[in-house]
Symmetry: C2
Subunit: 335 residues, 2 copies
C-alpha cells in the first residue's frame, strides 16, 4: 500500500504549483449533478453482506449499471451540456479506449448532435460495436495517433474535442459519483476508486474530501499499470509506454496515463494508491457475480479486488465498480 | 398471450367472492414502503438502450441487487416488522425454495431474532448455504412436507410462521416494487412481473393499478409451469404437481402454486399472463449479462424473455428482474 505521507514531504508538493492550474470544486460537482439528471442513472449503494467480513461493512457503487455500462456517461454528458447549445450543435469528437467513446456517443444522441470517436485499433470489439450502434462515427488508429487524429477532426469539422479525462467538466461529472456516495452513506470511512487517466479518481476525491475530509480515498490500479502510483511517489508525471501497460487484463486502465490536470487533483485530494494483481482482479470479477449479481469489467473490479485482498484500511468501505463492458465469453472462462 | 378479457366473462368472476377475503390496498403498500426503508435497497430503474428496439423504451427493475439477491427481502422484512417487537422476538419460521428463506433469515438477523427455514431437499445448494451463512437453521424435507413441517415448528417453538407469499404483509411488501416503478417512470405503459406463488405479482399489480389504472400489468411464467395462466383461464385454482413443474430451469417458479389470497389479487388486478420457453429464458439471461451487466436467475429473467420474444404490448416497458441467485457455473454454460 502507498499512502499520502510518503509522497508529501514537509508540506511541500515537489515544485507543483496550484496557482498554475485551477482544480475543480464541490460547486462544479453540484452543477454537474444537476446537468446529468435524467441521463445518468442515480445508482444506489449496494451492501454486499457476504463480502463484508469484519470490515465494518462493504458496499459497491455499481456504475456498470449506467446505460452505456460505465461511469463515463457522467463526465461526457456534463461536458456536452457545458458547451452550450450552439457549440454542442456542431458536434463532438473524442479519443477513447471505449467507455468514454460510448458515453459521449450516448450523450450526443440524447442531445441530438453528431459524434466522432477515435479509438485505438486494439480496443475491445464489443465496445467499438456499441459506439457504432449508438450512432457514432468510429475512426480506428494506432495507439499513439489517437490525440492527433481527434484534434485534426475537431479542427477540420469545427467539432468540440471532449477528451476522456483531461477536462474540468469531465472531472466534475465523474465527481458526482463521490457526491452520491456521501449522500447515501454519510459516515463512510473508505472510498476505493479505479485510476486510469485519473478523471474518476480526481472527481470522486474532490467531492468526498469536500464533504467529509476524514474519509480515506484510495486509488486502485493494476500492478501492471501502476503509473499513477509511480507518478505520485516521484512527484512528477511518469508515463508508462503503452506496450508495458497492455499486459494487464484491465483494458480500461491500460494505455492511459494521468494528465497534468488529473495529477494535480490526485496530489491534492487522494490519500494513497493500492495496486492489485491480475489474479486478484479476475477473482474479484467472480465474487461480484456471485455475491453482488453484477457483471464488472476488469477495470471495474480492481477496487473490490483491493478490498478482498485485505489491502485497504478497516471501516465502512465503498468500492466504485466503474464499468461492466466485458466480453461474456471472457466472463464465462472466469466462472 | 393471454389477456384479461378471456378470463373475465360478462363481469362475473367465476363465483369468487371479494367479500370472503380482504385484498391489500395501496395504503398497505405505502406502510410497507416505510417499514422496509434501510433494509431493502431502493433499486433504480435501469434503461437498457440496446434492447429497447422500437418499443418506446425498455427498463429493468433490478431486484437481483437486493442484499440477498431477490425482491423477497421486501415482503419478509415487512411481515417481520408487522409482527411487533414482542411477537418477533420469539422467532420466525418459513418454508421456501430459497429466496424467501434467505430474505427472512436476513431480516431476522437485522432485527436480531431467531429464524428457521424449512426447504425442499431439491433446493439449490447455493441458496441453502446462503441461508445458513445468514444464521438461519435450515431443515430439509420432501417437497410435500414443507408446510406441515413449518407449522409444526411454529407450534412447538412458539414462532410466527411467515409464508413465502400467502400473507397480506408479504404481498404488501412486494408491492413496494410497483410503487417505486411508478415513482421513477410515472407514464409507464407495461409492467412485466414473474408469477410463482403470486405474491410479487399480487403486490405489484395492486400498486400499479392504484397509481395508474391504464398501465398494463402482465404476469410471466415458464410454459412448463403455467399453472397461474391455467388457473386464471379456469377461474379457479389449478395446482400443477411439483413433478410436472420441476422440468423448468426457473427453480424459483417451480413447486409453487397460487394461494387463494394471491389468486384473488391477480383476478382483480392483473391484465394477463404471458408464458416463455426454456430457451427464451436462457437467452434472456445472456442478454441481461451483455446489455444490462446484470446476473439474473432464470426466474428473474422470464420477464425480459417475454419482452424480447415480442410477446408483450408496445409502449414504455418495465421488466421486474426478481432475483439473481444462480449457480455461476450454470451461468457460464449460457455465456
Amino acid at each position: 500500500m502507498f499512502f499520502r505521507s510518503h509522497w508529501v514531504c514537509g508540506g511541500s508538493r515537489s515544485g507543483f504549483s496550484l496557482e498554475s492550474m485551477r482544480l475543480i470544486t464541490m460547486e462544479d460537482v453540484r452543477t454537474a449533478s444537476e446537468a446529468i439528471r435524467g441521463t445518468a442513472v442515480r445508482t444506489p449503494l449496494l451492501p454486499v453482506p457476504t463480502l463484508s467480513g469484519a470490515s465494518g461493512g462493504f458496499w459497491v457503487k455499481p456504475e456498470n449499471l449506467q446505460p452505456i455500462g460505465a461511469f463515463k456517461i457522467r463526465g461526457a454528458h456534463n461536458a456536452l451540456v457545458a458547451l452550450g447549445p450552439s457549440r454542442a450543435a456542431r458536434g463532438v469528437v473524442t479519443h477513447s479506449s471505449g467507455n468514454h467513446g460510448q458515453a459521449l456517443a450516448y450523450a450526443a444522441r440524447v442531445l441530438g448532435v453528431p459524434c466522432v470517436v477515435v479509438s485505438p485499433e486494439n480496443a475491445a470489439p464489443v465496445k467499438v460495436a456499441a459506439m457504432r450502434d449508438l450512432g457514432a462515427e468510429v475512426v480506428l488508429v494506432g495507439l499513439d495517433e489517437r490525440l492527433d487524429t481527434a484534434e485534426e477532426i475537431a479542427a477540420d469539422r469545427g467539432m468540440a474535442l471532449i477528451p476522456p479525462f483531461d477536462h474540468p467538466d469531465v472531472i466534475a461529472g465523474q465527481g458526482t459519483v463521490g457526491l452520491e456516495i456521501l449522500e447515501d452513506l454519510p459516515d463512510v470511512d473508505v472510498v476505493l476508486v479505479p485510476v486510469g487517466g485519473g478523471g474518476l479518481a480526481a472527481g470522486v476525491s474532490t467531492a468526498v474530501k469536500a464533504l467529509r475530509p476524514r474519509t480515506v480515498v484510495l486509488g486502485v490500479e493494476p500492478g501492471l499499470a501502476a503509473d499513477a502510483q509511480e507518478s505520485l511517489v516521484a512527484g512528477e508525471l511518469m508515463a508508462w509506454p503503452a506496450a508495458r501497460t497492455s499486459r494487464t487484463v484491465a483494458d480500461g486502465l491500460r494505455s492511459t496515463s494521468l494528465s497534468e490536470l488529473t495529477f494535480a487533483h490526485l496530489k491534492e485530494h487522494l490519500d494513497g494508491i493500492v495496486t492489485v494483481s491480475e489474479e486478484e482482479i479476475k477473482s474479484a470479477m467472480r465474487e461480484l457475480v456471485r455475491a453482488a449479481r453484477l457483471v464488472a469489467e476488469p477495470s471495474g473490479a480492481v477496487t473490490t479486488a483491493a478490498y478482498l485482498a485485505g489491502r485497504t484500511p478497516p471501516g465502512r468501505t465503498v468500492a466504485v465498480v466503474s464499468g461492466g463492458n466485458t466480453d461474456p465469453a471472457f466472463l464465462a472462462t472466469l466462472l
